[in-house]
C-alpha cells in the first residue's frame, strides 16, 4: 500500500505543484495578495483537478489517442465553468471579485492538464483521485502560505484580520507582482535548501524527482506517431 500513500503525499511536498514543479504560476502569483484569495483559488483548482482527474481516468480506455488533448480540455473547461457558476452564486462577492478572471483561467492551468496527461490518462480512477486530491491540496497549501506571507508583510494581517494592530501604512512591494516573485523565490530557495540538506545527511547528491523532468511529459510529442 506504499504507493497509495505516495500518490497522495507526493503533491504535498516532494512534487508540490507550486514550489517544486513550478506549474500554474499565473494564478499563483496574481491572486495570492492575501491568504483568503489563495485559499479560494486553491479550493477552486482542487475541485477542478479532482473532477477532471476522475473523469479523464474513467475515459482513459476509450479516448482516441489522436484527440485526447482536446477531449481533456473540454472536460476541464466543463468543470471550470461549473466552479465559476457555483462561486458566482454562493461565494462571498469580495472573494469572487478578487479572483475575477483567474477562475476561468483555471482551464489553462498547467497543473490540471499536466496531471490529466501525465497521470490520470494512465492510472486507475482511485489512484487518479488520490493524485488529484494530493496535488490540489499541495497547491492550496502553497497558495495559502504564499498569500499569508505576502499579506503579513504587506499589512501585518492574516486572512484579512490584523494581527499587528498598529501597522497602518501598507508596504506595497509584497502586495504587487514583484513581491510575489520575491516571496516565491524565497519559498523555492527554502524548499531546495531543505532537500539538499536532507540528501547530504544521507550522503547523497540531491536530484529533483525524475518525474518532474520535461522529458517525462509527452505533451510536446503530439505530432509524432504513437507506438
Amino acid at each position: 500500500m506504499k504507493s497509495v500513500v505516495y500518490e497522495f503525499t507526493k503533491g504535498l511536498w516532494k512534487e508540490n505543484p507550486v514550489i517544486v514543479l513550478l506549474l500554474g504560476m499565473c494564478p499563483t502569483l496574481a491572486v495570492t495578495s492575501n491568504a483568503t484569495n489563495g485559499l479560494g483559488m486553491g479550493l477552486a483548482t482542487m475541485f477542478v483537478l479532482l473532477g477532471s482527474n476522475i473523469v479523464i481516468s474513467l475515459m482513459r480506455n476509450i479516448v482516441p489517442q489522436k484527440i485526447r488533448i482536446p477531449c481533456y480540455i473540454v472536460v476541464i473547461a466543463t468543470f471550470v465553468t461549473v466552479v465559476e457558476l457555483f462561486m458566482k452564486a454562493y461565494a462571498p462577492p469580495t472573494l469572487y471579485n478578487a479572483l475575477g478572471i483567474f477562475i476561468p483561467l483555471i482551464v489553462v492551468n498547467c497543473i490540471v492538464l499536466g496531471r490529466a496527461e501525465a497521470f490520470a490518462s494512465k492510472n486507475t480512477v482511485f489512484m487518479s483521485f488520490l493524485d488529484g486530491f494530493g496535488m490540489g491540496l499541495g497547491f492550496t497549501l502553497s497558495l495559502v502560505a504564499l498569500g499569508g506571507v505576502r499579506e503579513f508583510l504587506t499589512s501585518g494581517s492574516l486572512f484579512e484580520v490584523k494581527i499587528i494592530t498598529c501597522w497602518t501604512t501598507e508596504f506595497m512591494l509584497t502586495n504587487g507582482a514583484p513581491g510575489a516573485f520575491i516571496v516565491l523565490g524565497f519559498f523555492i530557495a527554502i524548499m531546495n535548501g531543505l532537500n539538499i540538506r536532507k540528501a547530504k545527511k544521507n550522503g547523497e547528491i540531491y536530484v529533483p524527482p525524475a518525474a518532474l523532468d520535461c522529458r517525462h511529459c509527452h505533451i510536446c510529442d503530439l505530432g509524432k506517431v504513437e507506438d
Partner: protein, 236 residues
C-alpha cells in the same frame, strides 16, 4: 473498444469530440439552470447592500423602485435612480452609474442623495484600481483586528460606513451654483475644489466624474426622476 483508442478515422474522431462536447454542454446547461436563481439573488443582495449603505431607513424595496435616465454625454452610461420611501413618501434617492475613466477602466458608484440633491454618502460598487493607490480613493474597508475577534477591541459603530477621505468629502454637497464648488466638479489639480490622492489622480478624477454626473443629472432632471419614481406629494 481497443480500436477506438487507436483509430485514425477522422469521422470517428469528429463524432467522438461531438459527443464529448454535447455531454459537457448538457451538464453545463443543467448547472446554469440550477445556479440561475442564486446568482440573481446574489446580484440583488449586492445592490441592496450598497443601497442600505447610502440611503436612510426605508420601508419599500428601492431595488424594485427604479428609474433609468439615459445618459446624454459621450460615455453613454445610463444612470439608474432608486427611490427610498418611508410610509409611501419619498425621502431620498440613490443614483448608480459607471465610468470608464478609471486607471483600469470601469468604476461603478452608488451615490445617495437627499430629495433636494444633497449628497448623503458615496460608495464605489465596482472597481479594479491599483492596490494601495487607486483603492485608497475607492475603498471603504473596515479593518478587522485580532482584538475584535477575541473581544477587548474598541467598539466599532457598524451602522456607519468606514471612512474614506476622498469619498466623504462629497457628503453634504449638491451640484448647484449655490454650493460653493465650481461646476463641473474637478479635482484641485485641474483647478477644481475636490481633494485627490497624489499618485492616484486618474482614479480621483474618475470618481469625481461619476459622482458629479449622478448629482448633476439629479439636479437637472429632478422633476422627471421624481415623477418616474412615483414620488407622491412632491413638487409636481
Amino acid at each position: 473498444m481497443m480500436s477506438l483508442k487507436k483509430t485514425e478515422n477522422i469521422f470517428v474522431l469528429g463524432i467522438f469530440l461531438a459527443v464529448i462536447g454535447a455531454v459537457a454542454a448538457g451538464i453545463l446547461a443543467w448547472v446554469a439552470e440550477i445556479t440561475k436563481e442564486p446568482i440573481a439573488k446574489m446580484e440583488l443582495a449586492k445592490t441592496n447592500k450598497a443601497l442600505m449603505a447610502v440611503l436612510p431607513d426605508f420601508t419599500n424595496e428601492p431595488s424594485k423602485d427604479k428609474f433609468v435616465i439615459k445618459s446624454d454625454d459621450k460615455e453613454k452610461y445610463d444612470i439608474v435612480f432608486y427611490g427610498a420611501k418611508k410610509d409611501g413618501k419619498l425621502i431620498a434617492v440613490a443614483g448608480q452609474s459607471r465610468t470608464m475613466k478609471g486607471y483600469s477602466g470601469l468604476i461603478e458608484s452608488m451615490v445617495g442623495l437627499d430629495a433636494d440633491g444633497k449628497i448623503r454618502s458615496v460608495v464605489i460598487t465596482k472597481q479594479n484600481e491599483t492596490p494601495g493607490l487607486g483603492t485608497v480613493v475607492c475603498g471603504r474597508k473596515r479593518v478587522v483586528t485580532i482584538f475584535d475577534l477575541f473581544g477587548g477591541g474598541k467598539k466599532v459603530d457598524t451602522s456607519k460606513l468606514p471612512p474614506n477621505a476622498i469619498l466623504d468629502q462629497f457628503d453634504g454637497h449638491s451640484a448647484t451654483q449655490k454650493d460653493g464648488w465650481s461646476l463641473p466638479w474637478k479635482v484641485k489639480k485641474d483647478g477644481g475644489n475636490i481633494n485627490f490622492i497624489t499618485g492616484a489622480t486618474i482614479s480621483s478624477r474618475a470618481v469625481t466624474d461619476v459622482v458629479y454626473r449622478i448629482a448633476h443629472t439629479y439636479i437637472a432632471k429632478r422633476k422627471e426622476i421624481l415623477k418616474g419614481l412615483g414620488a407622491g406629494g412632491d413638487d409636481k
